[in-house]
């Protein structure tokens, strides 16, 4: 397809989304350029909202549900406030792919009627607005996943009767739980990028610093939730795509182990590649919001509806056990131990990240936790395996979907679409090498029992989620900090730590002792100023209950120390 055609199609789609924003919610005046006004969160966006809308939209998911499920707030007023704020967010940073506010308000009305009649909520998420990355099917709504070639199709197939008729399993469950769905958020075409850019909506900017990226691939979620246009949303993560945008937007986001949150019926890139499975996880401003959603979804028994989901209900016992350890630590006994990995020997970290690591280590020690240096098996080896897996089909799947329209591949995509396909025998050898790496890492983890002082291996470890804070456009290319966690199928939570500060995070300071060269790379203190800094809290496989409990506890303490 010639450029004029795909370009026109993209432009028409982009405009059709904007057209769905009611007049009353459109910005009348132009937004100042990013160079003049980096940060559009907080007071900037609040100026367009009523006090009541601000109150509602700045309430976290747990407290929203407390209001809606007791009839204090109606589902309609809640969803209207979020629709308004989401519309503003999109106009500020380009974060939406699909808008279905009318259907959402209709849905909320029915919920209010249900509540009026039964004096009881529909489910544990009654009236809670939930945003979705544009990698889920919602009935009556298109899914483009950022591909021009998917416009007016079902996953690229024209005249497919499933078009607009399907709902992904998670979407079905969210409706049963009482969630109100109202928008789908932007992704990079191919999904294989740490920034969010495509030929339909363009670039999704970081609301805290519009010179920077909102991260990717769930970048629309990150940007929307940072602006409180959504209290909680679902992204997907095969190499960091939940954690990167969560972290780049000062939010919490969990990448669970594969098989906990149902992926059934959700479109994907390179679907069927089974060496590393993409997973779904929520993103929100508070860790407890993630736990609320996680627990609610598991109560729907997704393993009865998704053949790749595991029969592993939410384990309250693990939450309780973890709280006991936290309380013991508070009382002065070293009950919890953490590893801290300052860098992986490859991805040279910037000063703000180095400072974030110091803050976290200081918090851990202040709380009386044991801290050990995390010296795992070679991350270089893990990065090599990760690269081979992402490149397994030589980029054939991505090339096919870009080729449907002839649109160009965004520069940020980390997969080479002109590579060679691997064959079965080589793939099997790669899977064995991956398993052996997992085993080495597991053995290392077990071995820390000898040095933690708790009698057990570390409970979790902290490490960077990226070498940098929310990144300068086109400068995200090192994905191994997050990707290795996917290779290992571990559970990880992005935890907000601080913000880059040009006055403190000076380029020439040797923040890592003798590792000066690791922080002298492409760091630009001026541009990064104000960028959210996050770290990953990494737990063993299937330890979502424990990691969310620790993230809530530690996140609050870290926030205090970062002030």
């Amino acid at each position: 397809m010639p450029e004029s055609t795909w370009n026109t199609q993209g432009e028409a789609k982009r405009q059709s989304v904007l057209n769905l924003i009611p007049d009353k919610w459109r910005l009348k005046d132009p937004v100042p350029p990013a160079a003049e006004l980096r940060d559009v969160t907080g007071n900037y966006i609040r100026q367009f909202l009523t006090e009541r809308e601000t109150e509602i939209t700045e309430t976290d998911a747990v407290d929203i549900v407390a209001q809606t499920s007791t009839g204090n707030w109606t589902a309609v007023e809640v969803i209207e406030a979020f629709c308004h704020r989401a519309a503003l967010a999109h106009q500020l940073v380009n974060c939406l792919h699909e808008i279905f506010f009318d259907a959402a308000i209709e849905n909320a009305k029915q919920q209010d009627e249900y509540y009026a009649k039964h004096k009881a909520p529909i489910g544990p998420l009654h009236g809670l607005p939930v945003s979705l990355k544009d990698t889920f099917h919602v009935k009556g709504v298109e899914t483009t996943m950022g591909y021009i070639g998917w416009i007016n199709t079902f996953e690229g197939n024209r005249n497919d009767p499933r078009s607009g008729q399907e709902e992904s399993e998670l979407v079905r469950e969210l409706r049963v739980l009482g969630a109100v769905l109202y928008c789908k958020t932007s992704v990079p075409s191919t999904l294989m990028a740490g920034e969010t850019v495509n030929n339909i909506i363009g670039y999704t900017w970081n609301p805290k610093n519009r010179l920077l990226s909102s991260g990717g691939s769930s970048g629309g979620e990150g940007a929307l939730i940072a602006l409180r246009g959504s209290p909680v949303g679902f992204g997907t993560d095969i190499g960091g795509s939940v954690r990167i945008p969560a972290g780049f937007n000062s939010l919490y986001g969990i990448k669970p182990s594969a098989g906990r949150i149902p992926y059934q019926g959700a479109p994907n890139s390179m679907d069927g590649q089974s060496s590393i499975l993409s997973v779904i996880g929520p993103i929100a401003p508070s860790a407890r919001s993630l736990a609320l959603l996680f627990k609610a979804v598991l109560a729907q028994e997704p393993w009865l509806h998704d053949p790749l989901a595991f029969e592993l209900p939410w384990r309250d016992q693990i939450v309780e056990d973890t709280k006991v350890l936290i309380d013991k630590a508070k009382a002065g006994s070293s009950a919890l131990a953490f590893g801290v990995m300052k860098h992986d020997g490859l991805g040279r970290i910037h000063p703000p990240i180095a400072r974030g690591l110091k803050i976290v280590e200081q918090t851990l020690r202040r709380l009386g936790h044991r801290v050990i240096e995390w010296k795992p098996p070679s991350h270089a080896k893990g990065a090599e395996l990760l690269g081979q897996i992402f490149q397994m089909d030589g980029g054939a799947d991505l090339k096919y979907h870009l080729g449907l329209s002839g649109e160009p591949k965004p520069a940020q995509v980390i997969v080479n679409t002109e590579g060679n396909e691997m064959t079965a025998y080589a793939i099997a050898a790669l899977n064995v090498a991956k398993r052996e790496y997992q085993k080495q890492y597991m053995d290392y983890w077990n071995s820390t029992a000898a040095i933690t002082g708790t009698g057990r291996p570390v409970d979790a470890f902290f490490c960077p989620a990226a070498p940098h804070a929310a990144v300068i456009p086109k400068e995200f290319y090192y994905v191994a900090y997050t990707g290795i966690i996917n290779l290992l199928d571990y559970t990880a939570v992005a935890v907000p730590v601080t913000f880059a500060d040009k006055k403190i995070d000076v380029k020439s300071v040797n923040v890592l002792g003798d590792d000066t060269e690791h922080v002298q790379w492409d760091y630009d203190a001026e541009t990064y100023d104000g960028a959210p800094v996050c770290l990953q809290l990494v737990g063993r496989r299937f330890q979502e209950e424990k990691m969310l409990t620790l993230a809530e506890h530690l996140g609050e303490e870290i926030a205090q120390d970062a002030k």
Copy 2:
């Protein structure tokens, strides 16, 4: 390698195993030919044993542990009895690859000393002899997996320092639990066969009818345990390799879902193929023996040592819940419902299998359980996917390992070693097709809630494990009855039902109503006479606790009705 060389190597290895049998345990007189004496179980083998040895070896695992862990029986007398009987079994049907009786007796002595000192067992399997398929590494013992090219190597690699030094994770755990390991059992070279034959030990015969196969690929386990040369052993199953030899030998055997029993460190065929994972499961004369071993292994928390194992402890609650349903059914309420699939439309079943299905259906109805006809999504489609997955690498892995010595491929191997390798893009599409098939099957299972009368979907379903009873050599070629369960990753237990009887199971009888042609195929009533007949009890994914509880309950009732 010229025939003379591989043949000589195989013969030398075969002889070296025989040489490990002490003189006192060697058969002095020739065994009558199979045509004269089909059945060497029971009284035939007992003639070579003392009364005490017979008593010990005909006790099931649960009762053995009850004796050894209270000091009534010593570990040494138990292991000596089983070593003796295993030695006899090997001389009768060719079922052993490795013998390490001396190490086992030494191990048992240490256990007895431990017991004498502590007045307590080492673990829940204290003093229990456990046999292992020759797909596990045991320190000081070779693993050939039936390949000539693996003799004097580590998995085919010469001068590998791991040779004789490694123990598979399951083996390590069994030792911690107190099991006594003493032999490894025969497999078909490549493992991809429903009979057991290789160029080292030759053919493993069925002890109940030595004209027939012991099944495969865990055929050595099946034959050894049928002769009570072992109370319980572990096999592996990627297409039926636990269930087929269990069923062909009138034993119970469970194929769990992938990830419950640790596979870490166990050699395999086509290792790294990850579309269908091979799984490990125990085989024994009683279902409760399987539960004993299963529960014991899970208590070792294999997920902390095997990156592919799941954190899913043994769930006593499911056992209890299932027993409540069984009791309710006994009390007259229809609390349990079963599907029965008489044939899959492809694998034409023989009269003994058709009769087995009738017996089971009759038992289910007698016990007051609901029975529905099982009409799942096309098994033809499932069989097609299964075949593509087994053929994924074009047989390259098997060809490589056979090629190490130049030995020929046994005729029974179901994989074509001269096929074409699939590429990554096609493999991904195959994985998607497999997942869609799993989803259809899952939806069908859920849909039965509307017709069971219990308000729930069926609890399990019964179907053949093969078209025939223990098979005539070279006549096993239809693996889809069991293989589709691997494709689905369901839990299945082989349940013994009856024995082929030439007087009842007559070729011309139309046992399946209008499906006469399904039973007229290659059935030979005379040869099959006396062959064990089994069925599969199939449960949902990860329902091992429930399936073992049902298998124990139903197996006993079926045995009564089959008399």
